[in-house]
Amino acid sequence: MKRLFALLLAALLAACTTIAKVEGDQVVNDKLVVKVPAAWNKVTDPWEHEPYDIWTQEGIPLDHLRLWAGVQSGQPLVAKPTVLFRAPGEKDPRYPTFVSGLPPDKLVSLFEALYANEGEVKITRVDPTVFAGEKGVRFEFTLARRADDLVLKGVGWAAEHHHELYAATFAAPRLTFFSKLLPMAEAVVKTAHIKG
């Protein structure tokens, strides 16, 4: 029943969204430039302007690569709830808000809180990294999604530049899809640089 509900919601949401193939040089929010060696599908909701781009290979219920660019201090990471994977009767999700000057561990907590709206999140690795040319943090996580009992693996990258947040997350089912698609996500993320 839960699976059917999720599929119906997915179908309903799909009716409101547009999907376009993206490859080559792409600019996210006019601030973050990435090179896309293999095509991804960009999903856009015409009714909402989210602070991130969301791309997928196999479809949003399975995998997604989200790219945030220029999120300002005091701005939430999402503009509207991700209703796609919420079980019936769940409370409204809480939106984590970026605040300039957060240490890397708190940046990870933001994304942990974001994904916790969909299910149980466990952070499995956190390391310093360079993302988009800035010192930042790379983290790995698992997400046991409530709505369809699927366990996903994910990776995230985050850094701050001039008091703005730049970040990316990739998540896919841990069996097959994650290991197959992660290199494609990493190929995009490693090219990220801030415009200007």
Binding site: I123, R125, D127
Partner: protein, 99 residues
């Protein structure tokens, strides 16, 4: 409220003190940082505290600018759990704190 009730029954329970301190640390509202420091310091001084107590204590001390106390807490955490998920990040914090 739940933590307060549990601590009323057993005031030095390190697991409850750690849990409440971590909630304060993550919430980060006004006055939360001193409350987190108090709970986590008490947990760290109790018998058999969770290893994560020292991680959270180090993060709070680092946020307060207490480099030596933060480094000591991170050292203790990594000694207790050298393969912790966030060991890589905390070793980078340690390197900065000791430089």
């Amino acid at each position: 409220m739940l933590f307060d009730r549990l601590l009323a029954r057993k005031p030095a329970d390190p697991e409850v003190l750690y849990a409440r301190g971590e909630v304060y640390r993550l919430r980060g509202d006004k006055d939360d940082l001193p409350r987190a420091l108090d709970d986590l310091s008490r947990a760290a001084g109790a018998q058999k505290p969770p290893a994560e107590t020292f991680r959270s204590l180090g993060l709070v001390q680092r946020q307060l600018g207490n480099a030596q106390a933060a480094a000591e807490a991170f050292d203790r955490y990594l000694a207790l759990d050298p393969h912790a998920p966030d060991a890589g990040l905390l070793r980078s914090y340690l390197s900065d704190l000791k430089s």
